[in-house]
Amino acid sequence: MPAGLNRALLTVVGAVVAIVLAIAISSVAIIAAGADPVAALTAFFDFGASERSVSNNIAAFLNRSVPLFISGLAVAVGFRMNLFNIGVEGQYRLAAIVAAYVGSTFTAPAPIQIAVIVVVAAAVGGLYALIPAVMKVTRGVNEVIATIMLNYIAINLTSFLVRGPFAGERAEGQLTTTTPKLGESAMFPNINFIFDWFGQPPPTRGGGVWGFLLLAVVLGVVVWAVLERTRFGFGVKASGLNGPAALASGVDPRKMIIAAMVMSGAIAGLIGLPEILGDRGAFNSNFTAGLGFLGIAVALLGRNKPVGIAFAALLFAFLDRAQGALQIAEVPASVVTIIQGVIVLLVVVANEVTNRLALRLEERRAAQQLGSNTPVEVAA
């Protein structure tokens, strides 16, 4: 146990050092740009003057982290098995539009309707991810290229659907194409009540703090349990660490590839839902794009572990939230992207270094406890 503790401690120290370094590097850039790094730093923590603005910004921050977290989870499930699912982007967009459309075609009591939408989204994402999985298993097609291609196809398909078969009513003069609006019963209740606990006014922003956050937490726990505690998760881990050994141990790599890819895709399918069910009530042609790619960074930053991914998603969301505040402080907002990139790079470097250090420590400990190979006895 102390070994594990050591390791965790090292990881945290590494991450902190990396973040501090990233801030330092970005400060240099900010100074070079003729802006004030202190102003930039304060901007990150400037949630506005009024209580209401603070609540809104907290909501914006938390809401942003939800899709990032889910996206990170989706990517991580693949990574655990050395499967690189770049296709999360396409999977979530296709899933989002189909789920939004299906959800708008009927009304049912809220829990049922929401459940149906969630299931549809997961199913569509999973099925779309099944394509590269089957291609890999049956024909050995590299999943990286296959999913890149399928992303383009999904984007076009989505565009076709939103303008054609799935197009909904639009207000006069509204140019954004959209699916039909979801009924009230399809909207996921917000969790603004948590602001009451702190004596804060609830946020007025969009749907407030999206209730989907809770579902995301549950999802995180489920993914953790599946990956870390179940036999399936053991198979995933074994396949990821050593494919041939897993095969020889009776883990069918083809089944595992399909299962992991479908699971990844199914989770990916949920990425768009917080926004649809918590705020927009429809899928439209301006729907947030690029979450699938950000998910890769988030997953890597979180070391493909749900808890790490949660922290990474919060960090990214925290940085993203400051886009407006930075501009108000006259700091180029692209600093956020630079910080994100630098943090990802430095944190993984730090991970690498601390990992090696931890292994070294572990080996030394093992060797010392055994006391073997010490030349003392034969020191003649």
Binding site: M1, R231, G233, A238, P244, S249, G250, A367
Partner: protein
């Protein structure tokens, strides 16, 4: 020997007070060795004694913490292998150091490329290689891809690599581990030739009779330190072994037969094509069409309490046979376990029905190096007690059972949460043996169960195999160690080019004759 005339010359290599520490391990401690030029100098020692580390230091791959190296009387300090190559040292590593997807020529010239402007001068290189090959009797085709070569050929490529660089001092780290006796003899012939040309050879091996046959001088290393330097004329293999370990050498001898007449495993007409598997194809037709077969009509039975040994030069179908039985690679033919046809079953189902598997390469097929010991215990048993609890992995029970294995099989480890990579190879192997025995298998595949394992662990593993056999286990034993094969097996089969070419009685066969069958020198006479 010629050694006498050279005795007055400056030593080719002098190592003095070499010490090398790794985190938690002192691999070398105050090592002293003097190698006279134009001799074959053997270094022997247990696994992990520090032989490879010492040689890597001499070859510039690792830096010693203390000590001096003198080559031909001059003190040297190497930063990289190229420094060592420069003063005429070449090394053939314990594991092949070849790039499979490059040609023999490319592998040989790499790092010392002849150039015409920037262009690689292949014509010149081909000439040089052919010259070298002819003058040293090392036949190779320079334009073949290395992946198409057998082990013997690869070994020759490795030696050519060294000679190509004009090395005068050759280090050979366990070059014979993968060779059959005939190939070993051929290699030794090459070495003697090199020696007669004045080259110096440093030779590492665990096979003491080989060492006695070739060496002019022997240095023994124990636990990182030189403990003796002896003349091969003065010692016997047994004495040498005792110097190495300070104890008596165990021998793998089966005491009394426990073979019953209950068939546990029955293999019938197992056939596997080289160019992929087509279900429903007729093996006879495949043969008729002249397709290359990795397994060709292999049939045998193993009874309860019997160890069946398969002898063969590596690459003659052993791996394919194992993988076919495990269901990892598809093949034609029948496989029956306790009377039940299992040829259509998945690997998992086969394991569940009582097949245990000690793989030939523990790092490739046997372990999750970056996972804890108890997770490695679960591997292959994830669907059975005690690892299983519904859809969950039963962590507590798995840990407890791993603890049991650690104790019963004397796995030296700080605990069951230690990562597998922190263990030495022998301990890793003991863990694997313990794991595979714990499913109470009916049938066990043991592929090279003691490869690279030191004598102590070797004896322990042999004991476990014998005990299990006595309790009714059927074992398919595959090994490159002919003593082990002859000593442990109740029955012997020889596999050659995918066919079973001979059935032999281990009680009256010598390693030499066995080697004859394995290389096809003696035609397959069926004895039984």
């Amino acid at each position: 020997m010629s050694a006498d005339t050279l005795a007055t010359a400056r030593p080719a290599v002098e190592l003095e007070g070499i010490t090398k520490r790794f985190p938690g391990v002192v691999a070398n401690h105050d090592i002293r060795i003097t190698v006279r030029p134009g001799t074959v100098h053997a270094i022997v020692g247990e696994n992990g004694a520090g032989k490879s580390t010492l040689m890597k230091i001499l070859y510039g791959m690792q830096k010693p913490d203390e000590g001096t190296i003198r080559v031909n009387g001059e003190e040297v300090s190497f930063r990289t292998p190229s420094d060592a190559i420069e003063v005429g040292i070449g090394m053939v590593h314990q594991h092949f150091m070849l790039a499979d997807n490059l040609t023999v020529l490319e592998n040989i010239v790499l790092g010392a490329e002849p150039k015409k402007f920037a262009r690689l001068d292949t014509a010149f290189a081909r000439r040089r290689i052919t010259e070298l090959a002819e003058s040293h009797g090392l036949r190779v085709d320079p334009d073949k891809l290395v992946e198409d070569l057998g082990v013997g050929d690869r070994q020759r490529v490795e030696i050519l690599k060294v000679l190509y660089r004009g090395a005068r001092i050759l280090i050979l780290d366990e070059p014979t581990a993968v060779l059959v006796p005939q190939e070993v003899e051929e290699l030794f012939q090459n070495l003697r030739e090199l020696k007669s040309e004045g080259l110096t050879v440093i030779f590492i091996s665990h096979k003491l009779d080989e060492v006695l046959g070739i060496a002019d001088e022997i240095t023994v290393i124990r636990r990182g330190t030189t403990v003796a330097s002896v003349d091969p004329g003065d010692v016997t293999a047994r004495q040498l072994a005792e110097l190495m370990v300070g104890s008596e050498l165990p021998t793998p001898e089966t005491r009394e037969s426990t073979v019953t007449d209950v068939v546990t495993l029955k293999i019938g007409n197992l056939t596997m094509g080289a160019d992929g598997h087509r279900p429903g194809a007729d093996p006879a037709k495949l043969r008729e069409e002249g397709r290359r077969l990795l397994l060709d009509d292999v049939s045998f039975e193993i009874h309860q309490g019997e160890i069946l040994g398969i002898a063969g030069v590596e690459g003659n179908g052993q791996s394919e046979l194992i993988e076919a039985i495990m269901g990892i690679r598809p093949a034609h033919g029948t496989i029956e376990l306790a009377g039940q046809d299992i040829s259509g079953w998945s690997t998992l189902r086969r394991r569940e029905s009582g097949i245990g598997y000690i793989p030939e390469d523990r790092h490739r097929q046997g372990l999750l190096l970056e996972a804890s010991l108890w997770e490695n215990r679960v591997l292959g048993h994830q669907t059975r007690k005690p690892a299983r609890r519904g859809i969950w992995v039963n962590r507590r029970a798995s840990r407890a059972d791993t603890q049991r294995i650690v104790e019963a099989y004397d796995v030296r480890t700080p605990g069951v949460d230690t990562l597998a990579l922190a263990l030495s190879g022998g301990n890793q192997q003991k863990l694997i043996v313990g794991r595979e025995m714990s499913g109470e298998p009916k049938f066990l595949i043991a592929a090279h169960p003691t490869r690279g394992v030191d004598v102590g662990a070797q004896a322990a593993i042999w004991d476990h195999l014998r005990d299990a056999r006595a309790a009714g286990l059927a074992v398919l034993l595959i090994s490159a160690d002919l003593d082990e094969l002859i000593g442990l097996s109740d029955t012997l089969r020889v596999i050659y080019r995918g066919r079973i070419v001979a059935a032999l009685d281990p009680t009256d066969i010598t390693p030499e004759r066995l080697g004859g069958y394995m290389t096809g020198a003696i035609a397959g006479t069926e004895e039984s």
